[in-house]
């Protein structure tokens, strides 16, 4: 990422933000089209999109890095790395079915929301693989952080700060990701018929084994049925060279025999099952609200049980029990139950999908304690002193 690089489109973003800064006009930052259904509704007088910021700018497979304009469709990047036998490590989900959209998601959108899939539990979140960014802050200044190398501690880590900042601090224009080889084979050990507590215990044992488990999900019977299983299932994935996958799935099945006789899914069945888990397929077709709750894995079953009791939640767990996907009625009551259950478990929550009316009426992510909220406000001002970038998206007044 040299200073000279930069797209024609980047100058356009700079000009647009400068104009908004001069006039004090709030702008909504968009990847591919309006996700007005996301977090808190933004009241904006203009929109900046990244459609002109497309294309792969750097790909060095042997150096494990790929760089592209923020508006580049994720599918284009995935295809380019697949072509060289590599993959995007954090396994970003595709939520188009969940949201009923067809617009392809962009690199910038994925990084700005720090969305990660099942592999997160072993290999880190999207933010862990962002090696460098170019971005335009709320003053219309180009800011660069990181670069194109895998190890870099030079200065404050603005790459991580912008990952998951939902476009409230700066408009990302170019991003360099670390990529890794796509393993030769995938395999999944499936324990059927366990209750949630035993299921998470099995996943903990799998993740605590020496076999480098890189996916661990529990689906209760109803969710499991949508993937074609007859009973509840606890699934543990291994990805590696073919000989290792065969060896490790067999070892895992044997060493975890106390959780019952396990079946092993082959490569094709594993790919299908984990794509479904990644994209929250068990909740597709649900009409109401959807939440994501992150807790310590052993607390997952208790949260699921509490919310089943509170409003008959549909749910499943990823990340070894640490990520709960919850579906329920889009009511303030249900939302209050989610907040209470997650808080009690010492975890965090996100109102992922809900009608505007609910999202405008409640906090969509936890409020921060006062001391941290003050820092949030100061850091927001440090990037966007006039508060013009996605105002109100994460917190009211920020």
């Amino acid at each position: 990422m040299s200073e000279a690089a930069g797209f024609a489109g980047e100058a356009g973003v700079i000009a647009a933000v400068r104009a908004a800064y001069a006039s004090g006009t709030p702008v909504e930052v968009c990847g591919n089209g309006s996700k007005s259904g996301m977090l808190r509704p933004v009241q904006a007088g203009a929109r900046i999109d990244t459609q002109a910021l497309t294309g792969i700018t750097l790909y060095s497979p042997q150096e494990l890095v790929i760089g592209a304009g923020a508006g580049t469709p994720m599918a284009e990047i995935a295809a380019a790395v697949a072509d060289k036998g590599q993959q995007i490590t954090s396994e970003p989900p595709d939520f188009s079915a969940l949201f009923g959209t067809t617009a392809p998601q962009t690199l910038g959108g994925v990084v700005a929301t720090n969305l990660s899939g099942p592999r997160r539990v072993a290999w880190g979140a999207t933010r862990d693989h962002v090696m460098g960014v170019r971005a335009v802050n709320g003053r219309g200044e180009l800011v660069r952080s990181g670069g194109r190398v895998l190890k870099n501690v030079t200065g404050l880590d603005i790459c991580k700060l912008l990952s998951g900042s939902h476009g409230t601090l700066a408009v990302l224009t170019e991003i360099v990701l670390k990529v890794l080889p796509r393993p030769e084979r995938r395999g999944t050990v499936v324990f059927a018929g366990l209750d949630p507590v035993r299921g998470v215990a099995a996943l903990s044992a799998a993740l605590g084994s020496p076999y480098a488990v890189c996916g661990a999900a529990y689906l209760p019977a109803e969710a499991a049925a949508s993937l074609g299983f007859k009973h509840s299932v606890a699934l543990a994935r291994i990805e590696d060279f073919a000989v290792s996958v065969d060896y490790r799935t067999a070892k895992l099945r044997d060493e975890l025999a106390e959780f019952g006789a396990a079946e092993v899914l082959d490569d094709a069945a594993s790919v299908a099952a984990w794509a479904a888990i990644r994209d929250a397929a068990p909740l597709h077709g649900h009409e109401g609200a959807i939440w994501r709750i992150s807790v310590r894995p052993s607390a997952g079953p208790g949260v699921a049980q509490a919310l089943s009791a509170a409003f008959g939640a549909r749910w499943f767990m990823d990340w070894g029990g640490g990520l709960l996907w919850i579906a329920g009625p889009a009511t303030q009551q249900a939302h209050a139950a989610v907040m209470a259950a997650a808080n009690q478990a010492g975890g965090t929550w996100l109102l992922f999908r809900a009608p505007d009316s609910l999202r405008a009426a409640v906090p969509v992510i936890p409020e921060e304690p006062a001391a941290l909220a003050r820092i949030t406000a100061s850091v927001k001002a440090a990037f966007d002193p006039k508060g013009i970038l996605n105002p109100g998206r994460m917190y009211a007044g920020i």
Partner: protein, 480 residues
Amino acid sequence: MLQPEPKREVLARRDAIVAGLREILPESGVIAETLRMKPYETDGLPAYRQMPLAVVLPETTEQVAAVLQFLHREGVRVIPRGAGTSLSGGALPLADAVVVGMMRMNRILEIDYADRCATVQAGVTNIGITNAVQGDGFFYAPDPSSQLACMIGGNVGMNSGGAHCLRYGVTANNLLGLRVVTIEGEIIDIGGHHLDAAGYDWLGLLTGSEGQLVVVTEVIVRILRGPEGARAMLAAFNSNEIAGQCVDSIISSGIIPVALEFMDRPAIHACEAFAHAGYPLDAEALLIIEVEGSVAEQDYLLGRIKQICGKFDPISLKVAESAEQSAAIWKGRKGAFGAVGRISPDYLCMDGTIPTGQLPLVLRRIGEMSDACGLKVANIFHAGDGNLHPLIMFDANDPASFATAEKFGADILRLCVEVGGCLTGEHGVGVEKRDLMPVQFSPDDLAQQRRIKDAFDPGWLLNPSKVFPLAAPHTQALAA
């Protein structure tokens, strides 16, 4: 090296400030006698020394908070300190600053195998975490060579790496939560026992912030189950170019070894003389490659790697047949600093990162610079991730020699940036590289980082004179 002017009014009030600290901490927790402050006057970059105003050794987060609240009110600068092994002068004191040392906060508070995490105080050593869990087959992954001494709080401060970060990541990738104290003395919990907190990524921002933003008092780390086993091999080549091509070839084949270390000829000779590890002395470049898994898996991977290496006309290929042989292969590399220390009592350990493809060019240019300035250099390289450690040998009794070494080091780091890399891969900016920051960053880039510092520490009391160049428009850095 230019340091900010001490605040005269703080120096003048030294006795009152020490008395105030003694009201907060037990008698033994405040050190103000010159002799007893001596161990704190420098860190892993001993060329720079400065006695602080005083040293405090708090035992609890609440004591840290009370100390910071007091010092903030008094306008006194603060130097957070772990074990003081920073190689960039990150823990170097200032004459008007109080060092807040974490060594008494050395308790492990919780180990949870089911949820694969541990909560430890900031003064626990890096190896202390692994020692506490390895009986149960677990470990804490980032393993800096200084791991016997350095503390987890210092690792968070520097976002430290290690020999295995190609597979397991650096500090930032292995954290779940922090308890921190702001300069105002407020205690804040960041993250927790879960993944991916909502809100801004404070965990990511604070990791590697070099004591600029907060003082860390507790850390929740992820612990991992160790592999079934690991084994190393050694491959020696006729040139740096060829060894570099071999590394590319291994990675392109889809194998990510857990470690992939490179040594150039001077490093090979220094390490062999020291450790008698059996390194071939006629080689120009040496790779140490480590893989993990069951014995059969190790055999499979080492077999494939051996086959790849075979295509690059190796001078020697040695696959360890046992754990002892693996240890022997590692012995030279792990003793590299000590080995260079035997040849030359004084050396600077540099730490840039380059795109791995640039290695041959960079080593050639470093060789030319070495010839031109007359100082020897040995290069150790984390070949998988591009992190280069040139060890520049000089004579500390000769000020001219030190000045030449510093200039040589700076030129190497400029070269790293020029070829697309960065000034520091794991040791941090500290005082050592702060004035080089404009080589890598534009004024707007740096201004944005300074504004983040402002947001946490408007008075620039936390570890000032580090990271940001002094000769900057932002005068806070100079003197407030």
